[in-house]
Subunit: 107 residues, 2 copies
């Protein structure tokens, strides 16, 4: 099983897929048909993207008769932000180490 941020980066790297996700974030609940109408690609292509988004935990679906509604899954982006903070944190730690070193040299 890959780390959480791994699948997120791969999934959100595709512009079309990210656009679908953004639309779900901005406008909330949407049917596949509505998403297809704005995506500029075929319905099967949209369905495939939604499948990928769902497997990444970025989206959840709701069945209502013959319609399928999709909505953005909240908090799914957390690992991504966490990873970014971790990276900048490493830098901060090195900065702290440098400060410690300078402090010790000062004595």
């Amino acid at each position: 099983m890959p780390l959480p941020h791994e699948i997120l980066f791969k999934t959100l790297a595709d512009p079309t897929r990210r656009a679908i996700f953004e639309r779900l974030c901005r406008e909330g609940d949407q049917t596949v048909g509505a998403l297809t109408a704005h995506a500029g690609i075929s319905q099967p292509a949209v369905s495939k993207h939604l499948g990928v988004l769902k497997r990444a935990g970025l989206v959840k679906d709701r069945h209502e008769g013959r319609l399928t509604h999709y909505s953005a899954e909240l908090g799914a982006l957390d690992p991504l932000v966490g990873w970014a903070k971790e990276m900048t944190g490493f830098w901060q730690n090195r900065f702290d180490d440098l400060e410690d070193l300078l402090k010790r040299m000062d004595q």
Copy 2:
């Protein structure tokens, strides 16, 4: 010119490239040779990845004789975090709208 987060997602989607960037964040300045020693791929492959990272603004290089040192560029991840916050923000706004609606209905 693409949006800032666009290139970041594409660049960081590759595991090898992300590993190189993580190493630079964790351990700071590194030569191409040192990075190659830990990457498990050939030196040209590493150089190509470093080129991509550099064009994305995630990394900067420093020439010292025949060696080239690379280091992580701070703040390059900001647009990524910004985008994530924006997405969750949209959801928050919809939540606020719902609260407003309910408030208005209550009167």
